[in-house]
């Protein structure tokens, strides 16, 4: 037992070093040239730097890196908890339709823009987008919660979630059909996901929201561990399943809603990272998996962000595509490795 916890500590130190290294490296990546020296100066003696360099570091790099770190962590934790609650290795923040709900909110604002009479582009009205996606995510969450109050079986909730996703996606495509091409393009660009559109002030706003929610969810690790062995077993161990479900769903919706609002629907990460954490730490214990998913989610999204900037010199590739390409091989490999288990 002792050696096990020592081993985990070492692993945590290693992934934390990788995490810090990627944060520093990601700060130097981008269209303008910023060296590691500039970053060090920015931290210790910002007066040596020109104001334009400071602006670039703060508004573009720092904002982007903070977003990657927080969004990666939030989505990874959401995915982990969904997989536990649904006892399904394929669950992620996507399956409940929460990301799609946020997407619908954004679609109503962006695609329906001409209908409502304001045709502001997606870049200049971040706060409207934020509000719309938050409301969209919350609306789907309410629906799911209402269902989960009535339905005992978690699989039925999963099916309802998938159906809601489908319906919402269909509504969006109908809206796309009737919208003009400028708005459609700006919506499609939003769905590709981006960490670059987030300003420093917005990225700072993400930190307390996500940190608070993840911290609260961490305190539910013990009942979550009991849930792994099935709902009725957890019930005999004194877990209040309905309450736990409501807390986890609300937490996941807040995390997914906030991240989706700022960065667009980032798929796949929430599915892949929990599996990577389980594999690295060789445990099913949420007291270990939640913090490790926080770090590995950030590492994963930082890698995706770096690649999306480095691979194509002329601009930034869509991050959603990059993280899927990055994550899929991991999942295939992990599935092939342990075929006999579920989560």
């Amino acid at each position: 037992m002792k050696t096990r916890s020592l081993e985990n500590t070492v692993k945590f130190i290693v992934i934390s070093i990788v995490w810090i290294g990627l944060v520093l490296f990601d700060l130097t990546v981008g269209t303008n040239h910023i060296s590691l020296g500039n970053i060090v100066d920015y931290i210790f003696s910002p007066e040596q730097l020109s104001s334009s360099t400071i602006f670039t570091i703060k508004e573009f790099r720092l904002a982007r890196v903070i977003t990657a770190v927080v969004a990666g962590a939030a989505l990874a934790v959401s995915g982990l908890l969904m997989q536990t609650i649904f006892r399904n290795p394929l669950a992620g923040p996507y399956v409940l339709g929460i990301s799609n709900g946020a997407g619908l909110g954004v679609a109503i604002v962006v695609l329906g823009g001409s209908l409502w009479g304001f045709s502001r582009s997606i870049e200049t009205s971040n706060w409207v987008i934020l509000l719309a996606s938050g409301v969209g995510a919350a609306a789907v969450l309410m629906l799911i919660l209402a269902v989960s109050m009535r339905v005992k079986d978690v699989l039925s909730i999963l099916i309802v979630g998938i159906l809601i996703s489908g319906v919402v996606a269909s509504i969006v495509s109908v809206m796309q059909f009737f919208s003009n091409d400028v708005n459609v393009k700006s919506y499609v660009v939003w769905t590709m996901g981006s960490l670059d559109a987030v300003s420093f002030a917005e990225s700072i706003l993400l930190i307390p929201i996500c940190l608070a929610v993840i911290l609260i969810l961490y305190f539910f690790s013990k009942p979550l561990n009991l849930m792994l062995l099935g709902e009725s077993f957890a019930l005999t161990m004194g877990v209040n399943i309905k309450m736990l479900r409501i807390i986890i769903f609300t937490g996941v919706s807040l995390l997914t809603g906030a991240v989706t609002a700022f960065c667009g629907p980032l798929g796949f990460l929430g599915l892949a990272v929990p599996h990577i954490s389980r594999w690295i730490f060789n445990t099913s214990n949420h007291f270990v998996l939640i913090p490790s998913s926080v770090i590995l989610g950030a590492v994963f999204l930082l890698c995706g962000d770096i690649l999306s900037h480095v691979l194509y010199a002329g601009g930034v590739l869509p991050i959603n595509a990059i993280i899927s390409i990055l994550g899929a091989p991991f999942i295939v490999w992990i599935v092939l490795k342990n075929q006999r288990t579920i989560i």
Binding site: M1, R87, F219, S221, K222, N225, L226, L228, L229, G230, S232, F233, L235, T236, M237, G238, N240, R278, W279, F281, N282, T283, S284, N285, F287, N338, R340, T341, I342, I343
Partner: protein, 242 residues
């Protein structure tokens, strides 16, 4: 302390989805009792076990565990009175047998599930008692159903509840493993001073080791001694086969 009453069921009505499964039940069970619950499929064995373990609510009446009416025990405290061993558990990736057995201590640990030295000692003792040392660090996905079952029973011992309920513990075992398990249950009931109630379809084998039989027949649950049961010639008569 001897023959302390663990379970006292009075006029308990059980059922599922508002359909009453059985006539009202009034029975008692004591420490060191090993009771086998027998009945045909769909007669309400699992409903009874689920009701006693708190998974479903009784439709009427109540039962006491160690003198406490169950309706007055808060949900999170119930796991100090009853432990339940389902007939089969799914394999959870990266969960070892030791992790599984340690789950039995969760009703006693704090919010961070911190195990104290005495918790760990107890876990190691029980692992040794069940001769699971060699398997303790293996993942659930890498052991047989019988070994998982054994670990799950070890978990319920670690939980130190006066009442242990098992739903068809012999279902996935081979002939010899079944006999061995039943002997082990008998020993646990005696040496650990527990009351054990389990449902079973291996009637002859189970009746052999049990002191008491709870038979569900024609909508009625009745307690029989081994002799009474044998005299009944349950397996040969046709009354309950309809």
């Amino acid at each position: 302390m001897m023959n302390q009453k663990v379970l006292e069921i009075s006029n308990l009505r059980i059922g599922y989805k508002r359909v009453l499964s059985l006539q009202p039940i009034s029975l008692s069970a004591y420490r060191k009792d090993l009771i086998c619950l027998i009945g045909r499929n769909g007669t309400g064995k699992t409903t009874l076990l689920n009701t006693l373990s708190g998974v479903i609510k009784p439709m009427g009446g109540d039962f006491n565990i160690c003198g406490q009416p169950v309706s007055s025990i808060p949900a999170r405290k119930k796991s100090l009175y009853v432990s339940f061993v389902p007939s089969k558990i799914d394999a959870v990736a990266n969960m070892t047998l030791r992790n599984l057995i340690a789950i039995g201590r969760t009703p006693y640990t704090n919010i961070f599930d911190h195990q104290q030295a005495k918790d760990q000692q107890l876990i190691e003792q029980v692992i040794a008692k069940f001769s699971l040392e060699a398997l303790a660090d293996r993942a659930l996905s890498d052991v047989s159903d019988g070994e998982k079952q054994k670990a799950m029973i070890a978990r319920s011992i670690v939980q130190q509840t006066p009442l242990i309920l098992l739903d068809e513990p012999t279902a996935f075992l081979d002939f010899f493993a079944k006999q061995q398990l039943l002997q082990e249950l008998k020993q646990i009931a005696n040496t650990e001073n527990r009351c054990i109630l389990f449902s079973c379809h291996d009637v002859e084998m189970a009746v052999e080791v049990c002191d008491k039989i709870w038979l569900i027949d024609q909508g009625k649950l009745q307690e029989l001694s081994k002799n009474q049961f044998n005299e009944m010639n349950y397996l040969k008569t046709d009354d309950h086969k309809k």
